[in-house]
């Protein structure tokens, strides 16, 4: 249901983009999209495809060994507290993790945070047999744990190894981030914060520590900080060859 409406949105947007270009009236899109800034969504209104949330990671500013974004995510969403004592490191939750990469030919190294890339056409949504894995109208990819049956197809389909499975009974979850045994979970882009006009916990922590490696914002708002940065600086999608149009972009790799 949500999948088909999302695909409709994407098709409509592509059509509008083409129509706008054809008419040479690029001003239409900004005029429409910018009339309502992101912070204007009243609490009782549904999210719309007028926004698309994204994160730009500047790996030039990511220090090796820094784990601030991961810690912030753990504290916000209540995972990683060793609440699954029987599980091994590969089985435990990893909503966000730091990855060290190295070019073997040159020895060039980088550290970057890896999490759900919030694809426009997410493979996890394609393979989900129940519709639990879905993409919200504003581009955030989520698991509806109420209808997740724990089959883990999405974990297999995700090219980024972004999802993890809860193997054990959990206690003391956060009210804003329910999680439980038998369901798959991943980065929610702190949807509970985004809906209340706040930035994700990882972005907030990165700025608070003065690293400023993460920029969060609306990819469709051309005046947003992230859109300006994407326009002025070179940046890449990881596994761009898959054509997923990710919401998380990287600089410096």
């Amino acid at each position: 249901m949500s999948e088909s409406s999302n695909l409709t949105d994407i098709a409509r947007r592509n059509f509008l983009a083409r129509a706008g270009a054809a008419a040479g009236a690029a001003a239409i899109a900004p005029g429409v999209f910018l009339s309502a800034p992101a912070s204007a969504k009243p609490v009782g209104e549904a999210v719309t495809s007028k926004n698309r949330w994204g994160i730009l990671v500047d790996t030039n500013k990511c220090a090796s060994g820094c784990n601030d974004c991961v810690t912030a995510c753990e504290n916000e969403n209540g995972w990683g507290r060793n609440d699954e004592p029987e599980s091994n490191a590969q089985q435990k939750a990893h909503w966000i993790r730091t990855v060290d990469i190295k070019n073997k030919a040159t020895g060039f190294t980088r550290t970057l945070p890896m999490m759900c890339q919030h694809c426009e056409t997410p493979p996890c949504v394609d393979v989900c047999p129940t519709g639990a894995s879905f993409r919200r109208a504003d581009g955030i990819v989520l698991v509806d744990k109420h209808i997740c049956i724990g089959c883990r197809y999405c974990m297999m389909a995700c090219p980024y190894k972004a999802r993890s499975f809860v193997h054990e009974d959990l206690h003391e979850q956060k009210p804003w981030a329910p999680r439980g045994k038998g369901t798959v979970e991943s980065c929610t882009m702190c949807v509970q914060r985004v809906d209340n006009d706040k930035v994700p916990a990882c972005v907030e922590a990165c700025s608070a520590e003065n690293h400023n490696a993460l920029i969060f914002g609306d990819l469709y708002d051309e005046n947003s900080e992230i859109s300006k940065a994407l326009k002025t600086h070179d940046n890449v999608e990881i596994r761009a060859d898959l054509g997923l149009n990710t919401g998380v972009r990287y600089r410096g790799i």
Partner: protein
Amino acid sequence: MSHFSPASRLFVLVLSLLLLLPLAATADSDEEGETEALPFSDLSFPEPARHFSAEQKCVAPDEEMRKNHMKYILHQRDETMHEGIRTRQYSLEECVNCHAVKNDEGDYIPVNAPDQFCYSCHSYAAVNIDCFQCHATKPVRPSMLQTLSSSDAHPESEMLGGDIKQLLASEGPAQ
């Protein structure tokens, strides 16, 4: 007319008596039911920490909540999960915020613990609650419903309260 044997006449008589018996019994119990206690009325569970408003104890009238609380929660669940609608009145977190009570040491008791609000009725009715395998069972942050129902809202919460109030006014009953 005489081709029915006495035995078969007796059989028909007994059969019709048997058929009528439940009707009579139902009529009897209906009359008595008015004086009998309602189901669940012998259950005891902790009183919620506070009332929704001076006029109304819970977020909807008691009779409505007893019968349909799960529909409110289900409706809110889908709206929040898929559409990002985070109104507070029918959110499960606010259920817990009011219905979880503290023990003598001042610590919150999980709302689904035996003898607590959720469990007492659900065990009586033999209906499993799945909510709390994932959802928090104790209050973690202050209720935002207080700002809704209290007339002397804090200045900083006035905007939020007004926003939600306006929203609630436009919200129909849960489907």
